[in-house]
Structures are given as C-alpha cells and as structure tokens.
Symmetry: C2
Subunit: 294 residues, 2 copies
C-alpha cells in the first residue's frame, strides 16, 4: 500500500448504525477523521470492498484495522469471539485478516459458562482506556446505549461482560403496547427519575414496576408528564442496581444525556462515577493492537 | 324491560378484545351464551347503545350488567376504581348506571399507596370464585394473560393487586429488536423452559437475562429451537418468582397452554396450583352483585 512505509494506517470503529474512521500516524496521532452513518445495517456484505476503497479515497491508501459489528455475522467477516479472560494480546492474536484487502478485523469478547454474553467494539475501548492510563487495570466499566454494557477488568484482562437491554426495552415500551403514548415526555434527572431508580434498583418484579407507570398515571399518583422519567428511572435503576456499587469506582465510557442519567443512578446507588473518553479509549486500544501486529 | 319480571338478566364480561354475554335466570343459571370479538377496542364510544341493542336482540329484552374494560376510559362509561380493600358489596355500591339503557357497569379495583395498580374484570371472577366456594375467602389468585394479575384476598376482600407485563413483554421482544427472529419457536414445558424459570426467578437483572438468550444462541450454548422456551421461562420465572410461593396455594384462574406454563413455574417455585374455572367465577360474582342491587 502507498504510504504504508510511513507506518500510518486507518482505524475504523464500525458499529451497527454508525462508523468513525481515523487516519492515524505511526505514533498514534489522529490526522484526519470521517464520521458517517455507514454502519453494518446499511451495508450489504458484498459491498465492503467498495466501502473500504471509499475510506481509502478519503484518508489514504493505507492498511485498515476495524473493530465492532463489522466482525459479526451481520458484518463483513466473522471474527470469532475471544473468551474471557481476554487482554489486548489475546484480541490481537485472534484478529481476522482480509489479506486481499489488507484489512484486519478485531474480534469481540464472549463470556461462557453459567452465563453467556458477548460484545463487539467495547473491548477495544475498555482495554484501550487502561492502556492509555485513563483507567486502572482493575476496573468496572459501564457503557450505556441501546444495550448497556458492564465490563469488569482484572489485571488488564476482561473477566466479565454483562449486557442489559435497558435502552431497547424503554424504546419498545414507548412505541408499543399498553404504555404507548405515556412515555413520550422528556427524560431528565429529577424527583420522578429518582423515584424510578428507587423502585427499580434491586427489584425482582421489574415488569410489575413498569405496569405501575400506567396505573399511577390513571390514578393520578404520577403526573402524566413525569411518566417517561419515572419509567426510565425504573429501567436504569434496575440496570445499575443489579450489582453492589457502594464505594466502587464506575468508569463511565460514554457522554451525553443518557450517560448523565446513568451517572445519577450510579451515584444514587453509592458508586463513584469516573468519566472516561470512549473515543480516546478506542484509539489507544486500536493503536496498541496495531502495534502488537507489527 | 320485557322479561324483567322473571328476574332474568344479561351479564357481559366485556374485555379489551373479546366479550362473552350470558342470558341468566333469577337463580343464576345460564340459559344462553354469546361470544364474539366485539371487545372495547373494536367499538366506538357512541356505538355502545347499538351494541347493547344487538345483545338484547339475541338474548332478550332484559336489564344488562357488564364488567371489564367497558367501564374504563377506553370503554363506554367510566366506572371509577374501587380502592382496596374491596369486597362484593363495595363493587356493588360503586356500579355505574346507564339508566336510559337499563345497564349497570361493575367498577374495577385499584391499589393505592406505595404501589399503584389497577384491574377491571378480574375482580368479579376472583370474588365470584370465593362466593361460589371455588376458593377460600383468604386466597392468592393468579390470572395469566397478556398481563398477569396476582390478586390477594383476605376475608373476602381484595387487599392487593399486582400486574406483571409478562405476556406483553414476550410479544414485544419476539416481534422487535435484537431478539426478533429468535423467539418464534414453540414454547412448551421442558428443560429449556425450566432452565429459564431458574434464571428468571428472583433475578434483579431481568434485562441481562433476556440478552443472554441471544448470546447463548450465538455461542452455541442454547439451541436456537429452545430460545423461545428459555426466554418464556425467564419471564414467567421472574413473574412467579417475585413472591415467596413455598407451601402456598395459588388459585389459577385460567386454563390453556399459558396457564399450564404458569402451573409448571408455580410448582417449580414450591407453590401448590389449584385450578379455578374463571367463567364460573365470573358468573358467580356477577350474580352476587346483581342480587345485591335488587
């Protein structure tokens, strides 16, 4: 590849609905960035060579390393999950190569045993954050989104993954069924959200708590405009409250309104929130893996 | 009304999607029955007089007493909820009358206080089952459906109501989101269903357990054809496992495949299942209320 002699490469965080591509020099510095909505759901499997060529047209004729859903059965090349405990070396060893294209695909991580869980993309961010000393080598990470990921790292190795379908469930309940039309209001921190956290945290009857939203509005016990915040509090409270966070540091790998709500819930449950830049984590993780492949 | 001198009347169990109307004589015997899909979702508010006239054409020009969603804000006439503790006399006293039509509408029951909950229709079945000595005056009832109702009765008074959105949640997850396409298989009792019960019962991380369905199938830990049964087990297990059922009688006010799955889960959690005929309960409850209004 042209330019490969410089040690520069293209790194792609290739998710379900979006992708972020970075031109990175040999020292790990970002020289250029492309962000768009060409996530794996928008791309046919046969179109990936064209997509890669498009990125090279924009960022340079360079080798590519990609992480995230591109390595899933819904993506381009299936990069089988690395089982826990997983560190950067294990991820590197298991990268899938698309040699005709000079593309490397970082695998996801799976948990097997009594519980099954999987992730793709978060592993690079988590281990990268540790590599960049944004978090210690023994740490609990939380990455809210449609699916919230809890990732537990010990001595630089991912030992546990737990995916909560919190955001997806809220969206399903908002758009369908008996709560439809009741959850369209604003969700922000406040009494209703915190009451929801208290109701949801540790609850063994989550689906009863969700019906209470409807009953409380019907009975006038909950203002209709607070229903969305209360329901969100119930779901995020259940998510955050499923583990004992008292006096624990929680490394929050996200920013924005949803991350702010998780921070409130984590704090309410006795945890300490430490914000971590997930883009910096991704870049550090990818650069470390890239270095290990050279 | 013609025929009213005989003491006969029409009783209607008027639900969300279906209705059952009965011609009942003065002694409570059922002389004729009409079942159709004219539930409240199929009827405009202004069309109820026509619907009542249609029932009278088929069953006789008699007074009508109706229970269920017809008395809700989505139905014909809002019959405000009777708060717990609620017995047959309280329901009778709070019946809404549509005098021009000679129609009586039985109210629902609500729980207020720390928790809010509501029901419409189940209260007549539960208190009727007790009136007919199909269940004791101190009893726990379970009525599975789209929403499963737990109803706790003490000395013939409903003291607690708990609605779990179990069936609705299963349908939402089957038809949308990341589990779509994975939950279309048969749900029947078996190892997968019982493993699901064990995972869901008492769980404080229900949405994590639901994501495990996907992860376990991806990782080959759960056969794809067992995913629906496992997920159903998780949800029903969480529902049933939210209360301590050891050595308790649970009066199951339903029959059919879903009731059978609940019976398995209740038994697995140490409860004793006592099947109660919900139609017999409804008829006994309505006849008791009808008698109290004379």
């Amino acid at each position: 590849m042209n330019g490969a002699a410089t040690g520069a490469y293209i790194a792609v965080d290739w998710g379900t609905t979006n992708r972020r591509a970075y031109l990175i020099d040999a020292d790990g510095a970002v020289l250029d960035t492309v962000r768009d909505d060409r996530g794996v759901l928008a791309i046919e499997r046969s179109d990936y060579p064209k997509e890669i060529a498009g990125l090279r047209d924009r960022l340079g004729a360079l080798p590519v390393i990609a992480a995230g859903m591109i390595g899933s059965t819904r993506g381009w090349v299936d990069a089988p999950y690395v089982p826990c405990p997983a560190d950067l070396a294990a991820l590197t060893a298991a990268c899938a190569t698309v040699q005709d294209e000079d593309v490397l695909i970082v695998p996801g991580v799976c948990l097997t045993g009594p519980r099954s869980d999987v992730m793709r993309g978060e592993e690079a961010q988590v281990l990268g954050a540790i590599a960049a000393r944004l978090a210690p080598a023994d740490a609990l990470f939380c990455q809210p989104g449609t699916h919230n990921k809890w990732v537990h790292v010990e001595r630089g190795r991912i030992v546990d993954v737990s995916t909560a379908m919190t955001g997806e469930l809220f969206a399903l309940l908002r758009d369908n069924g008996v709560l439809k039309g009741m959850l369209d209001g604003a969700v922000a921190d406040g009494t209703a959200f915190r009451d929801g956290i208290a109701r949801g945290a540790g609850a063994t009857d989550l689906t009863v708590a969700l019906f209470e939203v409807r009953a409380a509005v019907l009975l006038g016990a909950l203002p209709a405009e607070d229903a969305a915040a209360f329901a969100s509090g119930v779901l995020i409270g259940a998510d955050v409250g499923a583990r004992d966070l008292r006096d624990r540091d929680v490394h929050l790998l996200a920013s924005g309104p949803l991350a702010d709500l998780y921070a409130v819930a984590i704090t309410a449950r006795g945890g300490r929130v430490i914000a971590v830049d997930n883009q910096a984590g991704f870049l550090a993780g990818i650069h470390a893996i890239w270095g290990l492949t050279r």
